[in-house]
């Protein structure tokens, strides 16, 4: 019998308004325990206001074996935002 717990991917937010950032994963028996364990792994040193956990098996991902998924066959440089600086964050007065 496989007694290994499933993995959950952990997303960490350091301040309200910031994006949740993927920081790693934890083994856990269910989502509630995953949050508990994620707190001990990822939130005890970094400042943290929110954690998300997502069952790894619930993530649908692209395949590295299929690079054409992202290919640009013709010149599409006109799509690149080169004419202006896009800041990471928006500032409000």
């Amino acid at each position: 019998m496989d007694t290994q717990w499933e993995t959950y991917e952990v997303f960490h937010q350091s301040r309200r308004g910031d994006a949740h950032v993927h920081v790693g994963s934890v083994h856990a028996p269910d989502p509630q325990m995953a949050l508990q364990l994620a707190r001990d792994q990822f939130a005890r040193r970094l400042s943290c206001v929110s954690l998300w956990v997502v069952r790894t098996s619930d993530i649908t991902a692209t395949d590295y074996q299929d690079p054409d998924f992202f290919a640009r066959v013709t010149d599409k440089s006109y799509r690149d935002p080169k004419a202006f600086d896009a800041p990471d964050k928006l500032h409000f007065e």
Partner: protein, 266 residues
């Protein structure tokens, strides 16, 4: 002495109470730290190391209060005291056992902490109220963690059930020793400083028995209408300094490095 308590509370008995709280936290924190690098799951290894640091941090809060009442420094209390002078209950001194025992002990202790600190929120002594408020913020998460494991492991697989049940049978009478009456306790109860161990024990039973039961684990008790009748005798003696050899081994281990050079600055 930088902390004063109301004059009608005998200082000696008050200090004994503070010491019993401090020693429980330090000794259990040390036992929890013994899982660092050895727990069955990496995540639990880190969780228990974290809990160990929290418990030892709580011990420091209580030892600091003890010092402010005229006692020695926290370092002297932890690292230079004879094992016979500790006032922890036997329960926290037993070896860490297997992980089932550790989980059950932590759960039974966390509930005791919860009812003790909740009780202190209405203490007549300001210092006790503010310490309780502060420590409850962390203790509530210890309880969430240990209760979460008890609920899940109680009936997860036949092996987990069997090991958890064995741990409950072993730990329950030990845990009752947390509530051993302290010498002079009645003075503190009368002064409203603390609700008393008999009341805490009854609150504790009302909380743990149903949770264990829901996790398919049997506590050695009989339910009679509103009352929970305990069928085993508590492991007492720790509050009077009558300790088991386990504490001696733990204290030797804990004090070994400090005693090599007590004057060093860390």
């Amino acid at each position: 002495m930088s902390l004063t308590i109301p004059s009608h509370i005998p200082l000696e008995h008050f200090k004994r109470f503070v010491l019993s709280m401090a020693d429980d936290e330090l000794v259990l924190g040390h036992r929890d730290s013994e899982w660092t690098g050895h727990a069955p799951i990496l995540e639990e290894d880190i969780a228990f190391s974290n809990i160990a640091q929290d418990e030892i941090g709580h011990a420091l809060v209580w030892y600091t209060m003890y010092m402010e009442l005229g006692g020695p420094s926290p370092d002297e209390m932890g690292f230079l005291r004879e094992w016979k002078d500790f006032r922890c209950c036997h329960f926290v001194t037993y070896p860490r056992g297997d992980f089932a025992y550790t989980v059950v002990r932590q759960y039974l202790f966390d509930v005791a902490e919860q009812v003790r600190l909740q009780g202190l929120l209405s203490s007549s002594v300001d210092a006790l109220r503010s310490v309780a408020e502060k420590l409850l913020r962390e203790e509530s998460y210890h309880l969430l963690h240990s209760q979460g494991l008890v609920e899940r492991l109680g009936d997860a697989t036949p092996e987990s059930h069997e090991r958890m049940q064995r741990a409950v049978t072993e730990a329950f009478p030990q845990a009752l020793g947390i509530f051993e009456e302290l010498e002079g306790e009645s003075f503190l109860v009368e002064a409203g400083a603390f609700v008393g161990n008999a009341a805490l024990r009854s609150d504790w039973l009302k909380e743990v028995v149903p949770v264990l039961h829901k996790a398919s684990l049997q506590a050695p008790v009989q339910l009679e209408a509103e009352n929970v009748k305990v069928l085993v005798s508590p492991h007492e003696g720790g509050r009077r300094g009558q300790h088991l050899e386990y504490l001696k081994q733990l204290v030797d281990d804990m004090q070994q490095v400090y005693r090599l050079a007590p004057q060093s600055q860390w």
